[in-house]
Symmetry: C2
Subunit: 399 residues, 2 copies
């Protein structure tokens, strides 16, 4: 069981979490619990670091910020004991969860949970401080924002757990954003692949890395709400899903900006010349489209995260190897994606999308496809209209 910052936001909520854990123990299960810091605590600690020095040692940052989860794990252990459940807290170094030395965004390399498992087999609930591990040199490391999800999945894999329940402030994964589309439905099950596409597209229910890890180790992850008793959504292998829908959901991401280089010389190697320097500058380029050549020149359009737009423009303008006539940018765009493992074996999925958007007179700027996804970039003002039209077109509306 993993509980995020909102679920353990104050003492009353931690007591509530203790009750949920007890219920699981009462059902006869051996339980390990992973907790985040109480909401607000991590931000406060990060602010302290920044106030001390705008650029600061990532190893010290980690030692400071990891304390938030330690506090919650101790408090939940006390809460469980108060309910008559044997429990003890485990910091990352105590287990130990060994990571690489990429402080601030470390990757788990191994987990030696022998002592913890021994405790669990004696009936103890293990309460684990999420988000952290121990790096070379005996230093505390953290896994990056949302890293507690990864802790939970990695631990579930190490424990060979039957299930990894991730409690959040949403009650599952939906066919699309229910705040926009009233007929959105909660999915009972979704595949790792689909979840990965949704996560990277902005449906930020789970940290992307945690889903990758779950997929790799076949950890069955359930997303559910810590504020209700409703069943959640199970993220699992494809073969566990009997009735596969053609399309599982419609995702969207507003975090996009479009850049068009007009009048670029059309010659072999031009794409490499443009995108090489962007990659070197660590700027993520997502969708790319190159127009048909005319008079020996072409237009090259691509998208980057909005936050990186200014840096991307500087890289392009400083790039002497790629002359162009003019440059055009657009931040008022949204990427809408239709996702479903079922489309691997079915043609016509993209066609349904294009027709549904055309019917609503929505112009498509860029198209990109993968094995289980079709994405289009459209003007941001059409977001809601497009989501509702696609949700209906793929038969996802609740009855």
């Amino acid at each position: 069981m993993k509980f995020g910052g909102t679920s353990v936001g104050d003492i009353a909520r931690i007591k509530n979490v203790a009750k949920r854990v007890k219920a699981e123990v009462d059902r006869g299960n051996q339980v390990a619990v992973v907790v985040s810091a109480m909401s607000g605590v991590t931000n406060q600690l990060v602010a302290y670091c920044t106030e001390m020095a705008s650029l600061h040692d990532a190893r010290e940052y980690d030692a400071i910020v990891a304390t938030g989860e330690q506090v919650t794990s101790g408090l939940l252990a006390i809460g469980l004991q108060e309910l008559g459940i044997q429990a003890r807290s485990w910091a990352g170094w105590q287990i130990a969860i060994t990571t690489d030395d990429a402080h601030g965004k470390a990757r788990i390399e191994s987990i030696n949970a022998d002592e913890m498992i021994a405790g669990m087999e004696q009936g103890h609930v293990a309460v684990v401080a999420g988000f952290q591990g121990i790096a070379p040199g005996n230093r505390v490391s953290t896994l990056g924002r949302g890293g507690s999800d990864t802790t939970a999945v990695a631990l579930a894999a190490a424990l060979k757990a039957d299930r990894c329940d991730i409690y959040t402030d949403v009650d599952g994964v939906y066919t699309t954003d229910p705040r926009i589309v009233k007929t959105a439905r909660k999915l009972d099950k979704i595949t790792y692949e689909e979840m990965l596409e949704s996560a990277s597209l902005g449906a930020k229910v789970l940290q992307t890395r945690s889903v990758e890890m779950a997929m790799k180790h076949h950890v069955r992850v359930q997303v559910l709400s810590s504020f209700s008793d409703a069943p959640g959504t199970l993220v699992c292998d494809e073969d566990e899903i009997v009735e596969k829908a053609l399309v599982s959901g419609i995702a969207y991401s507003r975090d996009e900006a479009k850049v068009t280089l007009i009048g670029v010389e059309d010659q072999p190697g031009i794409a490499a010349a443009i995108f090489g320097p962007l990659a070197e500058a660590n700027i993520n380029v997502d969708m790319i489209v190159q127009n048909t050549s005319r008079d020996g020149t072409t237009d090259m359009t691509f998208t980057t995260p909005r936050a990186d737009l200014e840096r991307a423009l500087k890289v392009v303008k400083d790039n002497m190897k790629v002359p162009y006539k003019s440059i055009d940018t657009d931040k008022a765009v949204v990427k809408v994606s239709v996702i479903g493992v079922g489309m691997r074996s079915h043609a016509g999925v993209a066609q349904t999308m294009f027709k549904a958007l055309a019917d609503k007179k929505i112009n498509i700027h860029i198209i990109s496809t993968s094995e289980i996804k079709v994405s289009v970039l459209i003007s941001e003002e059409y977001t809601e209209l497009a989501l509702r039209a696609l949700h209906t077109a793929y038969g996802l509306d609740a009855a």
Copy 2:
């Protein structure tokens, strides 16, 4: 160097501490720094524990509360790096500072500072989270309130440090309380023995245990203010003090209550019968006086900490082996003590005290003496008058 909670109370103060440490490094010294939690943090964490459960697992309490010092140590390391000083933080378990398993008030058993010393010899300042260690079972332990003083002294002993500077919100040890006696003087030096008597008498500049440890390991401890540049008071071996004063200072403690059992049967073993049950109930009895027997009965008077008075009375009343006629209590008392290693070799010190008090018509309830101390219990209303009279009588007034 050790800095307490007020000295690291906020980011600005931690930056100020970093400057002080840098100054010490600039003087060519190898420095280890011990820090407390930012003021208020420990209380908040303790409150969380109590809110979760009024009685809680001391091991979890320790894991939670120890995080306060970890945060400060990381922040100070960042602050030092920002000033161009190489530094790294050390949690108790990282050093490691090994303690017994008396969680919440653990005692340091050993310090293996090899790795830390290696770092210091490469020019790194070691910033150590005070108040904590690692107990059997790989659990975090804490040393009890004020335990950072003990961490500092123990570490100074392990490092064979030339000096252990304890920065507090007072600028040294005075001949008596300067808030009461305007002519009180700051002492340049004081012996461990005198400091122990002062500390246990309520001049709470240093944790008692830290002074005991300093005495045992001959660690020269300097008490000074983190808010001024004035030299402090050195606590050291007697033979380092060339000009020994007969009396070093006048201490007092308002934390006393007096109990008198009137009409107790005067027979052998009566003291054991009274004080045995009190000791079993963990009630500290300080001064004891037994009146001369009259008609086969006597009066027995003793003092306890005020906070334990109710419990002490219950123990006495429940004690069927000791019948008495009546019981009398007085909370409005104060213990005033004259302290000085010089009195070992000089008679007449007590006499000076009795005469000075008699001259002011102050009645003495109880007298107790040790090798380097004479204490009297008097009515609380005379506290200031007594302190000033004694300060003058022993020639301690500033010129």
